[in-house]
Amino acid sequence: MHLPDGFLSDKISFGLIAVAVGFLAVGFSQLKIAVAKKVRFLKQKLALADGVQQQSEISQRLKITSKGKEKIQLMAVLGSLIFALQMINFPVANGTSGHLIGGVLAAVVLGPWAGLLVISAVLVIQSLVFADGGVIALGANIFNMGIIACVAVGYFLYKKLINFTSAKFKMIIIGLTAWFSVVAASFCCALEIGLSGTVNLGTVTVAMIKVHLVIGIGEALLTVLIIKLLRLKLNED
């Protein structure tokens, strides 16, 4: 559901660019805390010109931990994988196709903020290199597939649901949230188009949700399949 340019009003496009930039800034600073730690080191100054003078102080600097390095590696590889999987359109009913979004996949494997950065990186490359999804609509696409599908549904809703159920049903919950993430993203997408005045809000919302109720099943199956087949470890925090 990559929105091209022209479907949204300027107000909505630029508003959502601002929202996306805000969330990405939070995501980046959260990731920085997760992958790097402040290390103290001793700074020494010597001034030997007139008489001997020596000063030393303790200073701090950010350093990426070895666990953090692994995390960034995993982000890069999962991003590549999600990009590749998004190229695979699968057929659904009457001449329509769908493809994985990967929001829930990214969120359960990497956590919400790293997941958001990964989905956004995929969308940025798709938009700038492949003209898949508009440039001005990039904010809206990051909102729908990153902030809604990955952070809101893939993390917060998943967390809420997982608290109510036993660990046995984890994969079922992941499948359900993956399905719902597509429906929720399509609802937001339709809302943006309708509120832009491009087409009637009611009819576009009904049509978009109807199609994505089916496409979401593919998202659910693929998300669970990928986690199982590739034995991806789920994010614990």
Binding site: M1, A84, I125, F130, D132, A190, V199, V211
Partner: protein, 103 residues
């Protein structure tokens, strides 16, 4: 699974399996066509590899392979840049402190 295998799988899916992807319109494109607003889409920017067809290559299989390969690697590199940025930030923190210390 080991990280390098995951990257190889991504390259395989993007470069090879994507040949078998459905070419039907996706959910949004279908709705846009049915409700007559598809023509409102505008292309300000054609992209470097428009429509996932690698320019200047006649062989369909090779063009598809290059497209998938390029995309997968670009996403990989863009995300790897994060560690460069964090390292860079830590250096500027350090130089700021040095500046303050001088005063």
């Amino acid at each position: 699974m080991k990280i390098k295998y995951l990257l190889i799988i991504a390259l395989l899916i993007g470069g090879v399996f994507s040949l078998f992807a459905s070419t039907s319109p996706d959910g949004l494109e279908k709705v846009a066509a049915e409700q007559n607003f598809a023509h409102q889409a505008v292309n300000f920017w054609q992209g470097l590899i428009p429509d996932y067809v690698f320019p200047g290559i006649n062989n369909e299989i090779l063009a598809n392979f290059l497209t998938g390969f390029t995309g997968v690697l670009l996403v990989y590199l863009l995300l790897q840049i994060i560690s460069l940025i964090i390292n860079k930030l830590s250096q500027s923190d350090d130089s700021r402190e040095r500046y303050q210390a001088k005063q």
